[in-house]
């Protein structure tokens, strides 16, 4: 599949994915539509993970949640089938990555629950649209990510450090950058910190835990956002027997306009046996 192809809508992109004609990263595709991180867990872990997302909305902004066994996500698009519509999936057993696949129909079962979390593409596109370039995109790099010294709020079996991304900006631009991102609380929202990385337990900006190091100029300040890798780090620690996620950059592309608000998500009662 040609990376330069320009797909306009989430629905178009998912059709191509489902028919095997698109298996690339989704950055820049269907740019007006919300893209999401995907986490699929067996029902017995769903109540703890729902609590983890609700307790830590900056790194884990929940935009949709399925009932057990339900493969559609009607809030995000009319014909979504989560078993086929993500360009690439990762399969974890006991917290360890086992393989990457392009379809999960054979793994599907009635007790699987799908969580979709907003992702940074949404605010990055808004920053660019407003004239604030994003360094790692300019440089065709991956965003640098760091396990920082801030802890998430523990929720059942899920806990661990807040993972943050870094994008450098001039100090005078930070208020405008902050206000642009404030429009997207469902996509990590405002930066959590800017200034001396050591203040949030980051020793060396040139040695990210994930992604690529990016250049920070002398007149720039490193600005840090909560990152959707945070739940992945918590899952690796919790070691559920099975977990399926999207592969990095290969997101679920939805039919929801990026600027639309996301209604509150409920569903705890679907994960607990009636007593």
């Amino acid at each position: 599949m040609n990376m330069t192809m320009n797909i306009k809508t989430g629905s178009d992109l998912r059709s191509l994915v489902r028919s095997g004609k698109f298996n690339d990263q989704t950055a820049g595709q269907a740019p007006d539509f919300l893209q999401g991180n995907v986490v699929i867990l067996p029902k017995e872990f769903a109540s703890d993970f729902l609590q983890f997302c609700q307790n830590n909305p900056k790194p884990c902004p929940l935009i949709a949640l399925s009932k057990p066994g339900e493969s559609s996500l009607p809030e995000l698009g009319e014909n979504i089938d989560i078993r086929h519509d993500v360009p690439r999936y990762r399969i974890y057993h006991d917290g360890v990555l086992q393989e990457e696949v392009s379809d999960i129909e054979t793994l599907w079962s009635d007790d699987l629950v799908t969580f979709v979390l907003g992702c940074s593409f949404t605010f990055e596109e808004a920053l660019i649209r407003n004239g604030f370039s994003v360094r790692h995109i300019e440089n065709k790099q991956n965003v640098p990510m760091f396990k920082c010294g801030i802890q998430t709020i523990k929720s059942g079996i899920f806990n661990g450090p807040l993972v943050v991304t870094m994008r450098p900006y001039k100090a005078s631009d930070i208020p405008a950058v902050f206000d642009i991102c404030a429009h997207y609380p469902h996509a990590h929202g405002t930066p959590v910190f800017w200034g001396n990385p050591a203040d949030i337990g980051i020793d060396d900006l040139q040695k990210p835990d994930y992604g690529d190091p990016v250049f920070v100029a002398e007149d720039e300040v490193p600005v840090f956002w909560a990152c959707g890798v945070t739940p992945q780090a918590a899952i690796e620690r919790a070691k559920p027997r099975l977990c399926i996620t999207h592969a990095p950059g290969h997101m679920l592309v939805t039919d929801v306009h990026s600027s639309k608000g996301i209604p509150p998500i409920t569903g705890m009662q679907n994960f607990v046996e009636n007593t």
Copy 2:
């Protein structure tokens, strides 16, 4: 003023407050309308406090933010004047409570910024409406509040422990309670923890840091929510030269229906000098 009087709308209540005819606690008044915690700070502290709210949306759900010197809050009601419309205010100098007053016109200045944060009345009324009684309301007590072992995300000069409230429920009721509260992310939303209080650093449920101890029956589990006293505790530590808040229980009553979603709040650019 008679506590038993039933005022239907936020606008009606604020008229009574403004004319000096109502200076009581606002619980149960204008029950369909959002009530808010009020924090007023000089502009030089506003950027740090905005960051604190955005970083800690569970204890500090921002529902409105003014420009410096602006005493209206058009998003929350057509004719709100924050200098007159709160039944009782608290004045802090250098983090120390100095006095309680019923009007702040004489203290007002062009550099004051008003923050309004959602409050627990909203989800408590929803719980009661759905048949889940709230123990401290049943017992005509104040909700018990605890400084717990979870830390907020430090933001400029503001930091400190998460303050939580406790309401006991039967274990089998917790999923329904969780889902009801999930509808109100602008009012602390879902509980952050339930189970053994020691797991979040609370030694003795019968010795709350604020409010009254309440009875937990043998077949009940203590359930904890993030609390709007969290920012007050952070303000006491940060010691800004001036801070004005509502007095506990004496909230700003708005014209916004409790079930309505709150659009994202921006405003950082109003607090930083142009460079």
